[in-house]
Point group: C2
Chain length 271, copies 2
């Protein structure tokens, strides 16, 4: 019996922060990553468009042997998890539920701020998931943070100023005392040190990449247990697919994954 | 004989600044606008991807009666004008050549700064067009300006700080005395007042939207002359197509066009 293969999907590079957490936590699996870089960003697009793109990507990963799918994109999870789950033949894990669970464990006063893209916030997927756990939620769209991360300004005075403006608005009007902030976009973990400076001192930062990796670890145990001897002990195989430039994927991707990326293959989703 | 129809293509909303200039200058034509909003932005994508998308859009506009195509997107012009021109059956006008010509008329010391997206700058389409006219060119990618315009921060201290950083780098090392700046992206005309504050006082700002409209006016005269009586005198008919949300196109588009937009139709480019 071979080791299980996990398909990780994102609109671009951000999902590599989830893959990074998976590689630390679930070493008994292989990974296939799909970045829809030709059509990113998803964060400013409509439900219909994001759902169509995400279902295409899910099928692509299944056709490359994925036995479980991780939707490592907050926007795709927030807008289209139901559609992806219906369309897929294998189990699907999104990032919103694990993020909401982790926030529930972290908070004391049950008041949570969620930051994300325009589309994620408009869907209110986080608010619904948090309110279902009896938590109060304030969602705030931060559309400039993704381009700032992609410009490489992860510790730049301009980014700090922008973050102060966004978080100032988020932690206002009854949410001054919120004690937890959920990073509802896979680009934001790169801003963790900066966000820690900008948020009030008592606030805990929840990164859904880590909580999603834990959820996958729980769900995959049975598949891992079925793998045999030699297969079990070796290091994970990694395979990357991107819809835009593979060179750019390698170059930018390593910032998110935290180590070099090799062998990216170009995919053209029948356009 | 009917009035000529001009097809205007952009990755999103920015090309509406070119349509705005056309409506002021060429009133004897009808217009069909195509915004590939589901797949924007083009500015961070590769040549292959941008060319494929742009050729699809060109064919779509031709199938809707366009007798001339205006590639109102600097990135698509810079990366794919040749490919679009080869694929199209009607004349094609890009924004780079008209922008370079206008810069040639504006400059005295023949030193030009061009600002644009990462993809436009990497193609060096502007530098080539300017050097062919015996002008010296410095190109500078400003990837944060498009998201700042789309956030609505067209007159915001953060945008001014970002512009100062980008232009400070552009007007350095032998280009301190450049006397002309070309706005090589259709989002940037919305930043004209801010950029006028940030650039040195002696610098002229060239907006390729206006120079492109003049080029279309010259080229279209014969088609216009063939239109008859009543047809000639009425106001332009406008038709808009977008690949993402039509509601969002109407809402954001009016900032660029300068007046309300109605009747946007959704297009799905066979994915």
């Amino acid at each position: 019996m071979r080791r299980p293969a996990v398909g990780v999907f994102d609109s671009g590079f951000g999902g590599l922060t989830v893959l990074k957490a998976l590689l630390q936590l679930v070493t008994d699996a292989d990974y296939v990553y799909f970045g829809d870089t030709a059509r990113l960003p998803y964060g400013s697009k409509s439900v219909e468009t994001v759902a169509r793109y995400a279902v295409q990507a899910a099928h692509y990963l299944e056709s490359h042997g994925a036995q479980m799918l991780v939707i490592a994109c907050n926007t795709a999870t927030a807008l289209a998890l139901d559609r992806i789950t219906s369309a897929a033949r294998v189990p699907v894990v999104g990032v919103v539920e694990p993020g909401a669970s982790a926030a529930g464990l972290a908070t004391r006063n049950r008041k949570i701020v969620v930051v994300g893209t325009e589309a994620t916030v408009s869907s209110h997927a986080y608010r619904k998931a948090l309110e279902a756990r009896g938590l109060q939620a304030r969602e705030k769209a931060c559309p400039l943070l993704v381009p700032l991360v992609e410009e490489g300004w992860v510790d730049h005075p301009v980014t700090e100023q922008v973050a102060r403006i966004y978080l100032g608005e988020a932690f206002s009007d009854g949410f001054h005392d919120a004690d937890t902030i959920v990073l509802g976009c896979t680009h934001y973990p790169l801003l963790k040190p900066l966000l820690a400076r900008v948020t009030p001192g008592h606030v805990k930062i929840v990164d859904s990449a880590e909580s999603t990796a834990r959820e996958v670890a729980n769900r995959i145990q049975q598949l891992v247990a079925e793998a045999e001897g030699e297969e079990r002990r070796r290091v994970p195989r990694l395979k990357f697919f991107a819809t835009d430039s593979t060179e750019k994927f390698q170059r930018l991707g390593q910032r998110f994954l935290g180590h070099p990326i090799e062998g990216v293959e170009h995919v053209d989703l029948k356009e």
